[in-house]
Amino acid sequence: MQRLLALLLVLLGLIGLVLGRLGDTVWAPATETTATVQLSDPGPAVVIDPGVLYIGGTEGEVEITGASDVSVITAPNGDIDDYLEGTHYTRITGASDWTTLSTEEVEPEGEDELSNPTDSDLWRTVETSPSPVTIDVADFAAAEQGDNAQPARAILLVTDGTEAGAQSVSITWPVDDENEWVPFAYAGGAALAIIGLLLGLVSLTGVGRRGREDDAEEIEDEEELAEDGSPEAVEDGARGEEGTAPVDLDDAAAADAAGEDDTPDTVVLAPVEPDLAARADEQGLVDDREPAGAEEDALGAPRDEDDTDVLAPVTDEDPAPSAPTAGETTDVLPPTVADGQDQTDVLPSVQDEEPTAQDPEEQR
């Protein structure tokens, strides 16, 4: 059972480690996030507000699609507003979530055309490229450093002044993210695996203090069994250790399988002590039954020579008990104790003189 538990813990630990590895690889979160907006009738100009490019950081890429060549224009933010005064256009103001850019329509009733929008003297940079156009966020941010540089520039997107300034705009930012539970999975898995391995080592060796304690408990169990003469009593005694689980007697039964008695109905009694035996002789009691010696009880556990079972004195009127023959059940033996019954209720009321060690005083 212990080994099974150890195996289970190691298995759980390995599962935890595997889960952690999966969390780092297959189940790892996306390495980038993209916010997009599809523009329908945005007007001849689209403005990306200052700072929108940097919502997700100063690295990433902007992709702009248009019906024709797209011009990316930078200028002082107020200049763009002044230039577009009276014109219908759309502003990209931020991101409502990490997948969607938010927009604002400006002057919907304004003019829908711009004359030569790339030729204004207000523009500081004008780059015209075929659609789709990409902007590197890091490069854009770097251009805002240095003398007389304008931080957080707005971006004006136009085509030819008659068509939409842009059809779609998407901004992709790299994400440095990881599953939060991965460290826990690694730690928990490692801990369980280590515990399981240690438990397994302990179960495999099984020597030392724990082994000696087992032997001592086993001796106690056998003593209790000798008192009660029933396997249930031995089991109850073992169970009596402050609510611990019952002792598994299967091992004991398997260990003594070679010496198992082939007369299950016969209870082998312990040899009688000399003084009791002499008393029995005085009373005419003949105990010619087989001494317990190395023979086993009904549970297969060998009886110790010190175990004794004192029988009731037999009177002259009582017929002498005959030696039991193989296969016969003796009437003299006490009945089998039912489970749960106190063993003291079963034995006949005799003087319960336990064989004791010779008085040291008498020995001198």
Partner: protein
């Protein structure tokens, strides 16, 4: 001999161990599941500059200077005033148009280069530095200092002061005039830092030795009448004034040679300020550079019963078609000037630093 049996864990200990393991794994998963992605932050607009910044960059101004030079060159080659737009406007466009018309009346094409080439002055195509306004409001102004094209390896220290103005957000930067640095006159040392820009000054600007309006009026008066109007000696000597006065004196001398005084023709040139053409920018020393336009009329009056005869053909006679005049000869000019006006309380004088004149008309009878 019995073999000791390994003692198994009590049932309760096993339960605790397995339960703890399950709780450990479950806790980690729950911790991960509880994490939700945050909402995107609001866009950051960055920090505003503590000092005002120019409205235009040097790159932009270079493009403007080049565009003006290119447009003038093309228009001069074709002598077509329509080619001056959109960059050349106002007095500069008017003066150029008048010159084209005047030249159109000339009959001598062979000596055209010698006769008229000096009239086709243009600002240099290479930007040296610029003063630009810092106000975000319109109109926006700038003074660009440019140099003429020179051969490779040579340097030019003669600057042109080009007045630039952007009327509104959809208009280009245009020029109404330019003035070439006078020979021997240094430009002010305390030009504004190109990265910080300049404060525009108007006709009635305060904090100067004299308002731009009064300074321009004084200069026009002195050009017309000599140093008499400058009783407080506030105007510094300048080559343009000397040149104009020397030309008039020379013409008088030539006309009056061997002529009785009461029969000698008179020559006088009167200057007037075109107040619509004004551009001023403050300097770091508190002074200002101011540009404006003068128109002048030089009138040669012939006394009654006298006849003015030119011995040889010249551009004037070529345009007039005659070398003899009996009434008067009227020549008109347009002049763009640049002045340095010191700060209030300064001991320095008002210094004209640049001027370019172009003939705009000739009439005579």
């Amino acid at each position: 001999m019995t073999r000791p049996t390994p003692r198994a864990l009590p049932a309760l200990s096993r339960r605790r161990l397995v339960g703890g393991a399950g709780a450990l794994l479950a806790g980690g998963l729950l911790a991960a599941c509880a994490e939700e992605p945050g909402t995107p932050p609001a866009p950051s607009t960055g920090t505003e500059s503590a000092t005002p910044t120019p409205n235009t960059t040097e790159e932009q101004l270079t493009a403007f200077v080049t565009a003006v030079n290119d447009q003038l060159t093309e228009a001069d080659e074709e002598r077509d005033a329509e080619l001056l737009a959109p960059r050349v406007v106002g007095s500069a466009a008017t003066f150029r148009e008048d010159l084209y018309e005047l030249i159109g009346r000339a009959e001598n094409e062979e000596d055209f280069e010698d006769n008229w080439n000096q009239e086709f002055s243009r600002p240099g195509p290479t930007l040296y530095t610029a003063l630009t306004s810092t106000s975000a409001e319109f109109p926006r102004v700038a003074i660009a200092l440019s140099t003429p094209e020179v051969a490779e390896g040579e340097d030019s220290t003669v600057f042109s002061f080009l007045a630039l103005r952007q009327e509104d957000a959809r208009s280009p930067y245009t020029t109404w005039g330019w003035a070439q640095q006078m020979d021997g006159v240094e430009i002010p040392e305390k030009l504004p830092n190109a990265l910080t820009g300049s404060e525009p000054v108007g006709l009635e600007a305060e904090g100067l030795l004299m308002t731009p309006k009064d300074a321009l009026a004084l200069y026009a008066k002195v050009l017309s009448d000599g140093n008499g109007p400058d009783s407080e000696d506030q105007l510094a000597p300048n080559p343009y004034q000397d040149t104009v006065h020397d030309q008039i004196q020379a013409e008088r001398a030539s006309l009056n040679e061997d002529v009785e005084e009461d029969e000698a023709p008179t020559v006088k040139e009167v200057y007037e300020v075109v107040e619509d053409d004004l551009l001023g920018l403050r300097l770091e020393d508190g002074g200002a550079i101011v540009m404006s336009t003068f128109t002048s009329t030089r009138t040669l009056t012939i006394r009654a019963d006298a006849t003015l005869s030119y011995d040889e053909e010249n551009p004037i006679t070529d345009v007039l078609g005659t070398r003899e005049l009996t009434d008067e000869l009227v020549r008109t000019y347009g002049t763009t000037v640049a002045l340095y006006i010191p700060a209030e309380g300064s001991d320095a004088q008002i210094q004209p630093i640049a001027a370019t004149r172009i003939i705009t008309g000739v009439e005579g009878s």
